[in-house]
Symmetry: C2
Subunit: 328 residues, 2 copies
Amino acid sequence: MTIKIGILGYGNLGRGVECGIRHNPDMELAAVFTRRDPESVKILTEGVKVYRASEAPEKKDEIDVMILCGGSATDLPEQTPEMVKYFNVVDSFDTHAKIPQHFDAVDAAARKSGHVGIISVGWDPGMFSLNRLYGNAILPGGKDYTFWGKGVSQGHSDAIRRVEGVIDARQYTIPVDSALEAVRSGSNPELTTRQKHTRECFVVAEEGADLKKIEETIVHMPNYFADYDTTVHFISQEELQREHGGIPHGGFVIRSGRTGWTDDNNHVIEYRLKLDSNPEFTSSVLVAYARAAYRLNKEGKSGCKTVFDVAPACLSPLDGKELRRSLL
Amino acid sequence: MTIKIGILGYGNLGRGVECGIRHNPDMELAAVFTRRDPESVKILTEGVKVYRASEAPEKKDEIDVMILCGGSATDLPEQTPEMVKYFNVVDSFDTHAKIPQHFDAVDAAARKSGHVGIISVGWDPGMFSLNRLYGNAILPGGKDYTFWGKGVSQGHSDAIRRVEGVIDARQYTIPVDSALEAVRSGSNPELTTRQKHTRECFVVAEEGADLKKIEETIVHMPNYFADYDTTVHFISQEELQREHGGIPHGGFVIRSGRTGWTDDNNHVIEYRLKLDSNPEFTSSVLVAYARAAYRLNKEGKSGCKTVFDVAPACLSPLDGKELRRSLL
């Protein structure tokens, strides 16, 4: 018997989940829900229907886990507590500062309905968070470092697009090699924002635009660029599409700490992701946690969970015996 | 109220656990048990007593978790099922092929006594296993790579010491950089044993020994060295002690796999450990899982567990709310 998955929201993330289900033979896509006109949404999986988002509650008996693929700014704060009334759900809520209140809202609704809701699943928050937790537990008194990139930051690309005279833009966040090496050496350096990352921008400008002014506006933009060493390259729309069409990302979580009676020995734990497609990797993590949501609910659990609360074995299609034999 | 820890076996690992407890303010060392004469064992923690191993059962009400620091060959197969009759226990059983039968023996005894026994805790098995499991769950259809080193292999050092004319030896296992790079590139290479690791040996020979013959014996030794490119250096006992006295180790677990409807995008997950002291890091993992054993038992759980069965949050002294706020 396969796990029946629903997808709410069919953008990059929703399509990534659809692809992820195809890689997991114990799951099947049951339905896709959209706020657009369902007739206008063409999905990849043959024979699966697209419904209006408002029709989701009617399908509650046909779906084991609903994967919520909306955005963190306005979609998920409403959708996750609402959908967990009808389904086990998984979301990728990633506004770090608002996780506590999102957790509380989902937890209250999930306990009432008897479902499991796993929030903030992906790579950061998600796999990076797990590695911070494991690192902190094993090396107490150590130091945490997170580096992002090389990868495309959607928020920073959008900020550039709002500059006068800019048609399109792509921004890469790049970790500074020498900072990474210093952290790996175990020297526990104090690093400023500027020392950890640089920002590289590829910008398509309107014909006749004041390029010097655009560059100045970008590199001095508060919050986004002012605290970084930023480079700006002006390129054509064709080059942008040809060379910068992908959505790669990744990064590093490093924990460094000492052990021994008088802190004699140093240890470095490094977790690194190198992702060709940020949304497809995030989707793959969502799909694995959908399996966990299904199982936890089958065991009689309910309420809101995060990656911290889920035993690793819950993520795998293999049973305990096979896991111990093949992966331990 | 602190968690009271007992240590059974006071070698490198037991002393590492003692140091680990000192780094975790929610724990205290309650007692050390040894098969040697307790009078002959001097520990680091003031005011804590050393008892005979045979006295352990009498102390069952004074210890929350017993950390078993014996060897996997002969100690743990007997000690873990025996000690779990009286205590929650954690061990670092690392004979991969015998984990299933060890699990069954510990599970039967632990269910009967109502205790929790977490086995095969450390870094491999342990943290490396966790990363294999997470990687397999997120990127199904991908490929796993494990590299060890640079680090001292005790078993290989011992094998060299048994060669005629050898007084002492230290063997380093070294991952091959070009193989690591090929794996990181996402090209999913097929690698032979020889392509993945080299072995470097530092040997102290008896005066007048046939060095050529010792070198030949080492590099052609079946199972240990014959399948590797091995280098042998002859050095003095003083140099061995001065330059090769530490027990560093570490390695890499890399999962590489593709996502997308037609496997369009590649992803690489890399977990790396760089450890100054193999036993002290293993001990630090044991101590974190002792916290989990204590908590799981408090929740009413019993039986044998591995790192796969323990939710990450169980390892941390912080509560769920604080974990979500600070590490998610």
